[in-house]
Symmetry: C2
Subunit: 568 residues, 2 copies
Amino acid sequence: MTYRAPLAEIEFILSRIIAADRLAETERFAEATAETRAAILEEAGRMVENAIAPLQRAGDLHPARLENGVVRTSPGFAEGFRAIAEGGWVGISADPEHGGMGLPFTLGTVVNEMTAAACLSLSLCPLLTQGQIEALEHHASDDLKALYLPKLIDGTWTGTMNLTEPQAGSDVGALRTRAEPNDDGTFAITGQKIFITWGDNDFAENVSHLVLARLPEASKGTRGLSLFLVPKLIPDEAGKPGVRNALKVVSLEHKLGIHGSPTAVLAFEGATGWIVGEPGDGMAAMFTMMNNARLGVAAEGLGIAEAATQMALAYAAERKQGRTPVEGSGAIIDHADVRRMLLRMKTLTFTARAICLDTALSTDMARAAPEAERAGWKARAAFLTPIAKAFSTDIGNEVANLNIQVHGGMGFIEETGAAQFARDARITPIYEGTNGVQAMDLVGRKLSDGGAAAHALLAEIEAGAKASGDSELARRVLAAHAEVARATDWMLNAPEINDRFAGAAPYLRAWALLLGGWHFLKAAEDPGHAPLAAFHIRQAMAEIPGLLVAATEGAAPLYALSAEALVG
Amino acid sequence: MTYRAPLAEIEFILSRIIAADRLAETERFAEATAETRAAILEEAGRMVENAIAPLQRAGDLHPARLENGVVRTSPGFAEGFRAIAEGGWVGISADPEHGGMGLPFTLGTVVNEMTAAACLSLSLCPLLTQGQIEALEHHASDDLKALYLPKLIDGTWTGTMNLTEPQAGSDVGALRTRAEPNDDGTFAITGQKIFITWGDNDFAENVSHLVLARLPEASKGTRGLSLFLVPKLIPDEAGKPGVRNALKVVSLEHKLGIHGSPTAVLAFEGATGWIVGEPGDGMAAMFTMMNNARLGVAAEGLGIAEAATQMALAYAAERKQGRTPVEGSGAIIDHADVRRMLLRMKTLTFTARAICLDTALSTDMARAAPEAERAGWKARAAFLTPIAKAFSTDIGNEVANLNIQVHGGMGFIEETGAAQFARDARITPIYEGTNGVQAMDLVGRKLSDGGAAAHALLAEIEAGAKASGDSELARRVLAAHAEVARATDWMLNAPEINDRFAGAAPYLRAWALLLGGWHFLKAAEDPGHAPLAAFHIRQAMAEIPGLLVAATEGAAPLYALSAEALVG
């Protein structure tokens, strides 16, 4: 099965659904016109189809492995990464001052989607590097920026994020890794970090680790954390990697999926590090990039959904089985239940893409719009981000599983490739904040403005649905809008924060389905999208009332049985 | 993680929810009293915990493999199968005339659930053998029965089912394997069969294959199929296996899960076979055992759901992360979103178990009840079977995936074991008729009585809910009952069968949730179950209206885009 970059559909969403042409009206992104956008995405699509998609299965069959302390990457991955780096795609949204393309995250998100769709495990290497670039751009000293950013942006070096420790997963405040000041202004970093994606590789000249650690006398919890840059090889002033730093790869994990991505346990044994930002500002630096990192993972879920949908459609159109209602066909695509699965795959993917790109656009506008509008865009991006991350990764899994089901027995055979999508996708609802944590973020931090961001988005949806005319589909979207608005009021008035948390996951899902309905109303003007719009608005959105019942039950029912009684 | 046979919960459902004591009131199952039942299940539980559960990971790490045409099974599987055979569990429901225990399928289903929970890949070997025993009991000649049944029932030999061919999966009528009459009354079988579960092994003295094939001049489609018994080694009259038959294992599949179960491509090259039943009656024989085979697969989904729930509860009670609303705890079981997942796992498992055992009971009563009642029980069993199969295997996957999510990053690491449940479970919605085929069976064949079986079950539910008193939960169950009844009328009046097929899957799911609500109403009288009942009835059943919207939209919306437009 050959992945095809879905450029026409992406352009449809960019131009017709989220009005991405607005970007070129800003000074910052004046170059991102519709023509430039099309040319850039076409080039990215070609690179992904030719250089990345062929690596998908090799990465799965030949996992990265640790040999005498050295990580050996999967066959072809070095060349694949080179293709990404040479196209400038690592730095697509990075600052031109250090060699980046300076393009909007909106386009970076499209490229990330396509790279993840073609080969998720390889795509994580540039994605993590992008996260590090962003953190350094915002928080590092000018010296560090000058030394590291050009190398990271052009892909000579790669970057990692070191947060998790065995006792500290979602609870970052429990981190124990220590940072002791050296006499020369550097720090000695000591501790063990786990689940480090692309913790090492054999194709980059150097690997730069960003590490959360605790200074002596630092307070407990997240406020005592600082951020350090800890290179694998210590560069001289000219940027030439020199002596090995005191850190090592202890082991690689044996995982359900993304076998081509080396997930490392890293031991820092008094490794030399440079502080990024001020002491105690580690979490603030993390938060800077967290929204975009979440959007990156959202694009992974979306990419897998797209690739799995393409695979299912191709198989269903070929595979003959039984008599179908469509005369003379016999292809399983014409069986009603298979059609139902395919339409669900297609419409969930549309919804995830519209939400992801709308979120990316908001992030861009928060930096590029006229000053007075920026706070609104920023709040909009912050509100949409947990929805984009949780929904896209949830449906990435759902769609990958439907692809297996469409394949029947063949879906369970590894050679088919359908199973790999499901295995690879399974990590995305977990990392970069589990989807439960995303939902808690939505009803906690993102509603802590008294509902301003939520109400602003609800007002947009209402105005959009009313402006679309008095159709049956518009009435359904408005009805769902009213229900989500009611549930939002319930959340804002819930007596305890735990009552919000109890219903957070179904509340987030209801929001995503409503956003999909709103975007589909706009899409319905296009004959090729109208039947998909009707399917989503009539059938998928019918789930919203049930979700909101669960969303607004409060915490008490969850604790009616004690933990002991539940375990039994 | 150690699987524990959930005997108390099973006994609760047997005695309080489905009134299994009725079985002992029949002549056929007079021995199946509550005391005997408890003793038997306790013994089975001990065997499963001690001899089967320890094999789970070995089967995954060391898949069955083909060496010079011989299947080598996973380490310990020979001993595991021996434990099952020596306990008499292969023949728990087989006819005592040939060495079976003659116990109800209800108890057999419990044992199958526990065996599948402990090690799905091994459990398939006795399960397939049970299917063959049933087919032979009903359709084989007395000579064949006398020769094969004792060996299959005591586990000296194992049995397989050979249906699928590359061009014939769900469409059994497209089978091409040929059967040519020999002069001595036997037949020469030629053809290739794929996806043959436990197609061979190295621990049984012989393997007996049941093969669907076509006689010369037989008509096309399913009516031209006959069933043949084709042993690996041809037994002499005393039952001693002799010369090798002309069949071989061509290859084993490389699968997403159930690695310990050898899934074979079998080539029959003029192999000697004996006809089972009359020429052209192959499908009838298949149908005999199909209901029970489906129930067996349903028990697999249920078993995995139980095992995954046990694992998630144990982890969540141990793992500390962050501050919890329950003072002094810190265990993630006390975080609201984790609680929500655990309650969902627990309540879906309860619903699946109640439906599976109720289906098994109906099957038993269809043979054991007073003559006048049998047809009613038979129709009830037939109606419930596709619901049990599709729902239990769907939620087996959902619960296994929630178990991964509860584990966070650890869930993605293979050593944890959570991922294996999800991989193993993934085949169950596919084989023995995909869940789409189950749903089509429900709205097609099972409603072809004009709705008699559906209405009888709806009347039971209504009477039960009314008898439980005028509680808020009862009112909710009655409201859902009315909605499912309306959707049933819609199905019965739909203009085309394809309109039913279009909504079959959500209709089936709605039925399962309603059945769960009905069973939970009975369970609510028990304080340990009351909070679970409230959770299911208030939250899970809230999904029913949305499902029924999708169920009653008809086929037209699915075909509004042509197949070509959909593929794009």
